[in-house]
């Protein structure tokens, strides 16, 4: 080994040792470290110069009075942290030269709290209200906090392996799944990963659901699934999703003063339907808008139209009587069905009050033409004939109830019998134009001498409390959201929720919507499809569902409305108060031969030519330049096209809940394999999938 000159000096000259000693230097690397307690080791290395005795001794130097283990250091400089931090939480690693023990090098170690890990929790199901939960795992320290759904709860330290926490859950969380994590405090604050979950609410509430169940639920409770929302529903469960959705902020319509035409209102409909975070509200409002129908055929400007969908948005999860009242007093509806400026009988003109709103309120919005049993089946007389709900005298009486109402007062205007057109706020009464005589409505007498508002309130209360309303409204909403042919028992269960939400309240739409979507008959198809279930996706639903699944982006300059209108559904422009189609429309008899006759309301729009129009619409989505208002990026599909099975699997999972029948899969694979190029393959596969009857008819 080569001798170094300073070492020669050390051995040759006795007066030179100090000089030689001065040459010995020890350095250490790293000079500091901050390991978490209970974690793996830290290796220190040292360098010595100025001596050929290349040896050090390793030691730990602890602060005076330190409590707890400082960890350990072996004779090769490997430091092992303790399982818990000492106090104070510092320790110094010292490397001392053997050749010159006065020469030392130092590295400082700050020991941090351990990483917490959660292994289990007890109980796994929390009650609604106050709870105590034990969280088991490792690495817990004093001052650690239990987090439930990312929220901190009051925590008691039991041991490094157990914490307890206390808190309360609310009914809004019922059915939801909360992740459990533990956050250790500083120094080295850290939150556990890979959380364990607990369920809120009693047994029998929803569990976190399978992927197909989540996706199917979004076909009923939303405008169809997209991948993110479906994943979210899997986490929070069906009830958890409903609870979130009931309080989600409303996706608004525009201020009518800021836009120039109803085309923009139509565009906003699609923006909201495709992207709105309040999917359930958007879907329920779409259904309600086909019960309480107005049309931009008559309401020509945004100022006339927009207040009406706003009423439905506000009222979708409120009380049905409130909705009836707001609709009745809406100037938009007033103009559409002639209740605004409805005059008292006028002998000189030979006129009677206008019957239009009175009749359609009864027939279409509340009780229907035939007396219903509690399960929605029609009551029949001895000859088998339906029992009428009301006679002409009720229509005439109700027309008189609804006299005297005119437009709300335009700022600066003076009240008169017929105010100038104005659509902000409810209609107002002009009492001298109100018929004050007694009226009979549905067999109840409204006494004479009442104000327009008192008469209106009395009449709406009589109608609202008619036993038909529950089954009538329930069946109609079921048909829009779930199935064209609900069993009477299903209708009966939902109607019971309409009649009483469990807290003695009649007409609670939140309870009705929950009852519809969580009913066993709605959920039965999660596991096995019955041959007659489901309903045809109406054109708007088909289009929006396809766009959501495609991950399309839509903005307020979209022109989707005129693209879909040729299929018989121009949004906000139904041809009459009877909507785009009738709830009692039957599937053509020869198409259900050999089985029971089936209701198929949406089939009224499904003529042979419009069936081809559906395919053309899908073709446009997939093959056309989409313009400024909406964009479809097929890259996520096209990028899989090199492996046809992967492309098929994605389509299956996004649009068919992973349940596409095998024979259909085979046809799509054949189409993929017979098509050149990634993007063309994606287009072909999506076209075949989305134009299929299996997609068109939601089951």
């Amino acid at each position: 080994m080569p001798l170094r000159w300073n070492c020669l000096l050390l051995t040759a000259a006795a007066f030179l040792p100090l000089f030689c000693f001065g040459q010995v230097q020890v350095t250490i690397f790293p000079t500091s470290a901050s390991p978490h307690a209970g974690t793996r080791t830290v290796d220190f290395t040292r360098t010595i110069t100025g001596t050929n005795l290349d040896q050090v001794t390793w030691s730990l130097q602890t602060p005076a009075g330190q409590q707890g283990s400082p960890g350990s250091l072996d004779n090769r400089g490997r430091y092992t942290p303790p399982n818990a931090i000492p106090v104070p939480n510092t320790v110094t690693v010292v490397a001392t030269s053997v050749a010159d023990p006065s020469q030392k090098a130092f590295a400082s170690i700050t020991i941090l709290h351990p990483y917490p890990t959660v292994a289990s929790a007890s109980p796994v199901r929390l009650p609604i209200g106050a709870f105590t939960i034990s969280v088991n795992g490792a690495g817990f320290v004093r001052g650690a906090t239990v987090l439930l759904g990312a929220q901190p709860f009051a925590t008691t330290f039991v041991s490094a392996n157990r914490l307890t926490a206390q808190g309360t859950t609310t009914s809004n969380q019922n059915g939801s799944k909360l992740s459990i994590a533990v956050m250790n405090p500083n120094p080295g604050s850290f939150t556990s990963v890979e959380p364990v979950r607990v369920t809120v609410g009693p047994e029998g509430g929803a569990n976190a659901v399978a992927a197909n169940v989540a996706a199917r639920f979004l076909e009923q409770a939303a405008f169809g699934p997209d991948e993110d929302t479906a994943a979210h529903v899997r986490n929070v469960g069906l009830q958890g999703y409903l609870a979130e959705q009931f309080s989600a902020p409303i996706s608004p319509y525009q201020n009518p003063d800021t836009i120039y035409g109803n085309k923009q209102v139509q565009a906003r409909f699609f923006t909201n339907a495709v992207h709105g975070e309040d999917q359930l509200r958007q879907r329920v409002v779409f259904a309600l808008s086909q019960i309480f129908v107005v049309s931009a055929v008559e309401l020509n400007a945004p100022a006339e139209l927009v207040p009406f969908p706003e009423i439905l948005q506000r009222g979708a999860f409120g009380n049905y009587l409130t909705l009836m009242t707001e609709v009745t007093l809406s100037p938009s509806m007033g103009l559409y069905l002639n209740m605004v400026d409805n005059d008292i009988a006028n002998a000189a003109r030979g006129t009677l009050p206008n019957e239009n709103y009175a009749r359609e309120l009864l027939q279409l919005f509340t009780v229907g033409t035939s007396m219903l049993n509690a399960d929605g089946t029609v009551q029949r007389d001895a000859t088998g004939n339906p029992v009428p709900t009301y006679a002409e005298s009720t229509v005439i009486g109700l027309a008189r109830v609804f006299t005297g109402w005119t437009y709300p007062l335009k700022p600066g205007a003076v009240p008169q019998k017929h105010n100038p057109q104005y659509f902000a706020g409810p209609m107002i009464a002009f009492e001298s134009n109100h018929d004050e005589n007694a009226k009979t409505v549905l067999g109840s007498i409204i006494p004479p001498g009442q104000t327009a508002f008192a008469d209106l309130t009395a009449a709406l209360s009589i109608i609202f409390n008619h036993p038909n309303v529950g089954p009538f409204v329930s069946k109609n909403l079921i048909q829009h959201l779930v199935t064209s042919n609900p069993s009477p028992a299903y209708v009966g269960r939902v109607a019971a929720a309409f009649n009483n939400n469990g807290a003695g309240v009649r007409g609670d739409l939140k309870a009705v919507v929950q009852a519809i979507l969580l009913d066993p008959e709605a959920r039965q198809g999660d596991s096995s499809a019955s041959p007659t279930e489901g309903h045809l996706r109406e054109p708007i639903l088909l289009a929006v569902s396809a766009l959501r699944g495609l991950g399309a982006s839509v903005n307020d300059s979209n022109t989707l409305a005129p693209l879909i209108a040729p299929l018989g559904q121009n949004v906000f422009f139904p041809p009459s108060v009877f909507n785009y189609y009738a709830p009692n429309y039957m599937v053509p008899a020869s198409l259900t031969a050999g089985g029971p006759a089936l209701l198929g309301p949406e089939f009224q729009l499904h003529s042979p030519s419009s069936a081809l129009g559906r395919a053309d619409l899908i073709n446009t989505f997939l093959y056309s330049k989409t313009g400024a208002g909406y964009g479809v990026d097929l890259t996520p599909f096209a990028s899989l096209a090199g492996t046809p099975q992967l492309l098929l699997d994605k389509i299956n999972s996004v649009f068919f809940r992973g349940q596409m029948p095998a024979a259909m899969q085979q046809h799509i694979l054949t189409a993929i394999n017979g098509t050149p190029g990634s993007i063309e393959r994606a287009r072909a596969a999506l076209y075949v999938a989305l134009t299929s009857g299996y997609y068109s008819a939601q089951n």
């Binding site: 004939n385 041959p531 198409l591 030519s609 081809l612 024979a663 054949t670």
Partner: protein, 449 residues
């Protein structure tokens, strides 16, 4: 040598022949009068309830002395049409009626005796007087005055009970053997699927006016796609609504292929149509009639519509605008049938939800009523006459169901439709299948065609 293509065509033809002969047996009883001639019925449905009281107005009617223009004007008041606006037309009985001013083209066709009016026709189960209607237990149509119910009863001619089929569809059921071996449906709607068009066995073809016929989007890269699309139409996983949707799409494809092929190279017609909805619909009907020989059909039923007749408000204004669309469109269609040489083979008629109250409502409109007047047009029509019995224009009068001038029909839709069906070739033995209540009425043929 027989090419594969030829072989398939022959096989297909003999398959069709098999179906045909079996079908002919099923319909032996319903076999009807269809030689090799051609006949078409064209229904124009006036959605909303056309106010017949302002379509044709009695001016001086010696045969019904209770009616007069002044009786009409006294009750219609603010919405009475001015007498000098009406287009006067006569009847063989010496009465004078006035057509609405905007029906000028139709009044002219009436004058040339190719258009007839049927007065006060409507839904009935059996003949009914005011006294009978007002008595307890009266046998009346279900849900009078309701748009939906009354539309369905007009279209089905079943005024009480549930109708799953329309009378146009049932007429097709008994007449489609006349079109053998053509696979083109007997009924074609240019106004979407409606109950009128649906039979027990037959379903309509539909075509939207002014729209390309058939599927779009096929190109050089879509061969495999289009094949899979077709294959999936026969895919059956047992779900009824999926089956129905597939069957409709398959029919749409077949119908479109046949029509597109038949229309290919057809010369343009000289007759011009107004560019209104009803004008375009009737033009589409004329174009299909034009290629009837290529479609190889001998009997066709068409459905077209015009909406907006629910004139609760601004009756005079709104109806005038609608008549200004209806009359020139119907006249153009009549002219087209003349151009095509089929004016004696094509009979066009109107239907509507109901009539409207003679007494007006607040807002210068009229409310839902019952019986109304309708028009029948074509070269086979015994026109220039008012058929049926015109109601007495009086509130709470002998024809008023309630109190506002809602006419109890004096002629049933069944009689109206049976007259048309008989002309079309439905034989007497099949009439009860089409019109179950027809025997409740004194005559099955009103003689207007």
């Amino acid at each position: 040598m027989q090419s594969r293509r030829t072989f398939l065509e022959v096989a297909g033809r003999s398959m069709a022949g098999l179906f045909t002969s079996r079908f002919a047996q099923v319909n032996a009883l319903a076999q009807s009068n269809c030689a090799s001639d051609y006949k078409a019925l064209v229904c124009i449905f006036l959605f909303g309830g056309n106010d017949g009281n302002n379509m044709i107005v009695p001016v001086t009617t010696p045969s019904n002395p209770n009616n007069s223009y002044s009786a009409y004007a006294a009750l219609r008041k603010g919405i009475a049409l001015p007498s000098n606006s009406l287009i006067p037309v006569g009847t063989p009985a010496g009465d004078t009626y006035g057509f609405h001013a905007n029906l000028v083209e139709l009044a002219s066709i009436y004058a040339s005796q190719r258009l007839a009016v049927l007065a006060n026709v409507g839904t009935l189960v059996q003949p009914l007087t005011r006294a009978q209607y007002r008595a307890p237990g009266a046998v009346t149509p279900n849900n009078l005055f309701s748009h939906l119910d009354q539309q369905q009863q007009w279209q089905s001619s079943i005024a009480r009970g549930i109708a799953l089929t329309g009378w146009g569809g049932r007429a097709a059921d008994v007449m489609q053997s006349c079109n053998t071996p053509s696979a083109f449906p007997t009924v074609t709607s240019v106004g979407g699927t409606t109950l009128f068009t649906i039979g027990a066995q037959s379903n309509p073809a539909t075509f939207a006016p002014n729209a390309p016929i058939g599927l779009r989007g096929s190109g050089s890269n879509t061969g495999a796609r289009d094949a899979a699309f077709q294959q999936l139409l026969t895919f059956d996983n047992g779900l009824k609504l999926v089956q129905a949707a597939n069957a409709i799409t398959a029919a749409g494809l077949n119908n479109a292929n046949q029509l597109a092929s038949a229309m290919s190279g057809a010369p343009p017609m000289a007759t011009t149509f107004p560019s209104t909805s009803i004008g375009s619909q009737l033009q589409q009907v004329a174009k299909i009639i034009q290629v009837r020989a290529r479609l190889n059909v001998h009997r066709q039923i068409f459905f077209a519509f015009l909406g907006g007749f629910d004139t609760h408000n601004s009756q005079v204004h709104d109806q005038a605008a609608l008549f200004a669309q209806l009359s020139p469109a119907m006249a153009a269609f009549y002219n087209a049938t003349v151009e095509l040489g089929v004016f004696q083979s094509v009979t066009t008629f109107t239907e509507s939800d109901f009539g409207r109250t003679l007494q007006p409502s607040s807002g210068a409109g009229t409310d839902h009523a019952w019986g109304s007047h309708h028009m029948i047009m074509g070269g086979a029509v015994q026109g220039g006459r008012v058929y049926g019995r015109f109601p007495t224009l009086a509130l709470q009068g002998p024809d008023d169901a309630v109190s506002r001038g809602s006419w109890i029909p004096s002629t049933a839709t069944d009689q109206y439709a049976a007259t048309l069906a008989s002309w079309f070739g439905v034989n007497t033995s099949s009439l009860p299948f089409l019109f179950p209540n027809l025997s409740n009425f004194p005559t099955a043929n009103l003689g207007f065609v």
